[in-house]
Symmetry: C2
Subunit: 307 residues, 2 copies
């Protein structure tokens, strides 16, 4: 654990694996790390598949490294049987920053049951935070509510779009604007960029209310060439400054509350026993299928027995 | 409730709304419906955005109606801030089958917290089942684990792909083959169809084990023109026959166990109080952010207090 705090990549990797495996030692490790967390700026990056999240993350890592900052990257893969394909991108990144002792890159599958992502990702962020990272980039595929929730509880959330994929009106409708602290139109050398940027800016302007409120900037990037990545970094920095200590604390309190709630549910779920193993649950399922009871009544019976 | 069981579309719509709103009356309604469920063949349809799920569902409804069967359609929208767009498709469908008293079409948002989908969708299926539907089509966008789980617990699960989007090897890797009872290559008038079908069939053949086991068929469709939809329907029917009463019961027991487990967690979650409201949770979040405790210890404290 002390090796991880001194930044040993192997030690950090081992601790992230503990999180992924929900290892019994995790509780002790987290207790030991607790006093050493809070130093990292947690930046969430999200967007639909194909907008260039991996490439943008890699380019950001390069920029942070040029400043001499230690960077952690946590790429969360929702492991959908119907998407897949994050792994190749990960290997490409690995090779680019391999051997740099101040870059930790880790991809995590949010496999297993529902809610797996929501409790595991913040804990992996804690590990990278306690390992002395100045910045932790939390990259998630923005296709489900859960991924957006994770990104949305970062200190700063960057939402990536590509030209034509999300025009301003669509974005406004879909609630992107509420989640994004920084909007990026990547692949900005493609047709339709101007229109997408204009519409996003229009939507941001329409949504503005309070004086002094953060005005979500719209940044153009071509991550493959590095174009615009410095501007993106500046926008992220400005958002961090805008938050101040008070704003930062507010976000982190919300994140901590969600994290604790997630672990409470995880603990209670373990008590219930799970779909596969629990005899009482299986017996109640028989009653439900045979129409002798309904799922709510069965759930009430189980909850009463947990007492 | 009796109006819903007699098939009044308005009454059915009201009951599905109760489910969506998690209305207090839901428990009573579900208890009353329990003895009348189990008659419908629940068919899950899933696939990545853009493969043509809505069009295929509409075409299937037409075919079922030609047979004189009563059909319920439940389209679950994961309401990602980063996708959106299911609504238009829904309106198109509405217009095509509007006025047919034996077709219930309802789209449901899986909005709200994690796991919202997993408990609400099966209950909406129960409503349509108890309303006398012969078939309930449960359509989900296959982008997250939760959607796949829902589709995977249907009696018969249809996974849609489009040419080039998922070749056989990718599909095998991504775990599609384990979920799918029927594979559909939609948009089969496009280039690359033969290759995709061939690779999927190859992957299915490789994965086969036990004698007499179901061999997942690969069906070509052009849902926009109706081409292949009858073959798809036949494949779905054959799967239902293959399951038999015993196989069907096995799947339904698993589904019921998951449903009950989900409701138990929902009940326990309500006890915890939720992120926004609970004072005790907020106080623990302060301790976590200040590094005085870690999330696991905080969760343990809360669980102990739930006693």
């Amino acid at each position: 654990m002390s090796a991880a705090r001194e930044g040993s990549p192997r030690a950090v990797a081992r601790l992230v694996s503990l999180v992924e495996d929900a290892h019994p030692a995790l509780r002790e490790v987290m207790a030991a790390l607790a006093p050493h967390t809070g130093g990292a700026h947690v930046v969430g990056l999200t967007g639909a598949p194909g907008v260039g999240k991996s490439t943008t993350t890699t380019a950001l890592v390069t920029s942070y490294r040029e400043r001499g900052q230690r960077v952690g990257v946590l790429a969360v893969d929702p492991t959908s049987p119907l998407s897949g394909g994050a792994l190749l991108g990960d290997r490409v990144r690995m090779s680019e920053h391999a051997g740099d002792p101040d870059v930790f890159i880790r991809s995590m599958a949010s496999r297993g049951h529902l809610g797996g992502l929501s409790w595991a990702a913040p804990q992996a962020v804690r590990v990278l935070d306690a390992a002395g990272c100045d910045v932790v980039l939390l990259e998630t595929v923005g296709v489900g509510q859960s991924e957006v929730e994770v990104a949305g509880t970062a200190d700063t959330t960057v939402v990536l779009l590509a030209p034509g994929m999300g025009d301003g009106i669509q974005a406004a409708k879909a609630g992107i604007l509420e989640v994004a602290d920084v909007l990026v139109v990547n692949k900005a050398d493609r047709d339709g960029t101007d229109r997408t940027v204009r519409e996003l800016r229009g939507a941001v302007a329409m949504g503005e209310r309070a004086a002094g409120a953060w005005r979500t900037p719209v940044v153009r990037t071509v991550a493959t060439s590095g174009h615009g990545v410095d501007e993106l970094l500046e926008a992220v920095d400005r958002h961090r400054e805008h938050l101040g200590e008070r704003g930062l604390r507010e976000r982190r309190l919300l994140r901590a509350a969600r994290e604790v709630e997630g672990l409470v549910l995880e603990t209670l779920r373990a008590r219930v026993g799970g779909v596969a193993g629990d005899e009482r649950l299986d017996a109640l399922a028989v009653d439900v299928v045979d129409g002798r009871t309904d799922p709510w009544a069965a759930a009430d019976a189980l909850v009463a027995e947990l007492g």
